[in-house]
């Protein structure tokens, strides 16, 4: 196997790596954004539940959640939707990302400030309308750099899925290592691909968010 062949083989894991990263990011977003608003505006008991969710999921190593979803859920419930390794990995990452994104958005909501809500309410907007038209658009701008880092984290942590045998970049790299005994080129290649997947997006979001924040005086 020459280097080109090795590279192509490793790259064949790229679509799977991207799918896990993007889908878990979206799942994290769907969980995290509402949680952030609950944590900010809802009643105390609900806030405590959200807090607990954040603390628990941030406290468990990703690999434990993944293996538990894959092996454990079936034994506990008697059936399991997570016998698909791709799904187990994606959901495990998404659940934790939900905890992270909840924190990112909560900080951003605080950055927007309660005054914007009061001003919106004074026009007769409902609280929900105020959240949709006034708070969320500003929240995204403030949260952009944090979301960029979160996305980068998910791309990197998607490598854990290789433990479950998902054919993503890390798994492909491992196969090359085992079959060719080359331990240098495959890992350097994988490292390079991960950097290319994370660095540009995280940097772009960071710059865009910072510039927009400055322009709007947020």
């Amino acid at each position: 196997m020459n280097y080109i062949e090795k590279l192509i083989f490793i790259l064949s894991g790229l679509p799977t790596t991207l799918s896990i990263s993007i889908l878990s990011f979206l799942l994290g977003f769907i969980i995290g954004l509402p949680l952030a608003f609950i944590r900010t505006y809802a009643s105390r008991p609900l806030q405590i539940i959200v807090d607990l969710y954040e603390k628990v999921l941030r406290g468990i190593p990703e690999i434990v959640t993944m293996l538990f979803l894959y092996f454990g859920v079936g034994l506990v419930l008697g059936f399991s939707p997570f016998r698909n390794p791709f799904l187990a990995a994606t959901v495990a990452l998404g659940l934790r990302s939900g905890a992270h994104q909840s924190q990112i958005f909560r900080g951003a909501i605080r950055g927007v400030g309660g005054e914007q809500m009061v001003a919106a309410i004074s026009l007769g907007l409902s609280k929900l309308q105020a959240i949709i038209y006034v708070i969320i658009p500003q929240t995204f701008i403030i949260a952009a750099p944090g979301l960029g880092s979160e996305y980068a984290l998910l791309v990197k942590d998607s490598a854990y899925a290789f433990i479950l045998g998902v054919l993503e970049i890390m798994k492909m790299t491992d196969i090359i290592r085992r079959t060719t005994y080359d331990v240098v080129f495959p890992y350097l290649t994988a490292a390079f691909i991960y950097i290319m997947l994370t660095f540009p997006i995280a940097t772009y979001l960071d710059m865009w968010g910072s510039r927009r924040k400055r322009q709007l005086g947020l």
Binding site: A119, A120, S122, L123, L125, Q138, Q215, L216, L218
Partner: protein, 251 residues
């Protein structure tokens, strides 16, 4: 006598052991302008916030055209739309242009179609002489310009009364003039307004009544001339003297 637009009866607002508003009753009739003034911490902001339905009073009643707004279970959103509010620290929506700031309530609360909302928003911006700046973001405007947009935002909803909470006190002295001019225009149009302000020249010119607030309660009230010539209470007299001295110094 003209119809009473807004009224509060025996209004109280208590935070913990601080009494912010203490047994305040007042009425504002159609086309009237009343000025509230008093030292900082005297409860002006809290009183206006209660009347603007932005803070729930602890006790007492608020009426808008005879309708009680403090009865339990009432949906406040649609009443807030009928009461304009201008904030001391302006609080424009940072992510929206001047025009979009004014349009938001028209589109989402009054549910006007896009063209109609735009037309009315531009009209309101024209009234505060800000139409040239319609497409600027708040961060690109001076404090005085921002506050004029803040006034346009309230004005565009065509409210029955506008409550203004010290609209010029957060601005640099050289910028207060343009905002005062705008308010003068509104006064000429016969808008009903309750204004917390220490701009005594302006008050003297437009106010139907001035209300002196201290420690959360109305100490003295009367037409401007009453306060400028011969306030009854010692507290009002001292406060007026201080304000007038301060105004002279600024000039």
């Amino acid at each position: 006598m003209r119809e009473v637009v807004m009224e509060c009866r025996n209004l109280w607002k208590i935070y913990g052991d601080i009494i912010a508003v203490k047994d305040v009753s007042l009425q504002i009739r159609e086309g009237e302008i009343k000025i509230i003034f008093g030292p900082s911490g005297s409860g002006k902001t809290t009183l206006l916030r209660c009347l603007g339905l932005l803070t729930k009073p602890t006790k007492g009643e608020i009426f808008l055209r005879g309708e009680c707004l403090t009865r339990p279970g009432i949906k406040l959103n649609k009443y807030r739309a009928r009461i304009g509010f201008v904030f001391q620290h302006i609080w424009l929506f940072h992510h929206l242009t001047a025009l979009q700031n004014v349009e938001l309530g028209l589109r989402r609360v009054l549910k006007l179609p896009k063209d109609e909302a735009r037309r009315r928003a531009m009209q309101a911006l024209r009234e505060v002489r800000m139409e040239r700046w319609a497409n600027h973001y708040p961060a690109q405007l001076s404090g005085g310009q921002q506050q004029r947009v803040g006034i346009a935002r309230a004005l565009a909803m065509d409210p029955e009364i506008i409550l203004l909470d010290e609209p010029t006190s957060a601005l640099d002295p050289e910028l207060t003039g343009e905002v005062i001019d705008t308010l003068r225009d509104l006064a000429k149009e016969g808008r009903t307004m309750l204004i917390a302000s220490h701009e005594m020249g302006f008050a003297r010119e437009v106010a139907d009544e001035m209300i002196f607030l201290d420690e959360g309660t109305i100490i003295e009230r009367g037409p401007p001339e009453h306060f400028f010539t011969n306030p009854r209470t010692e507290r009002a007299r001292r406060f007026m003297a201080r304000l007038i001295k301060q105004t002279m110094r600024e000039r």
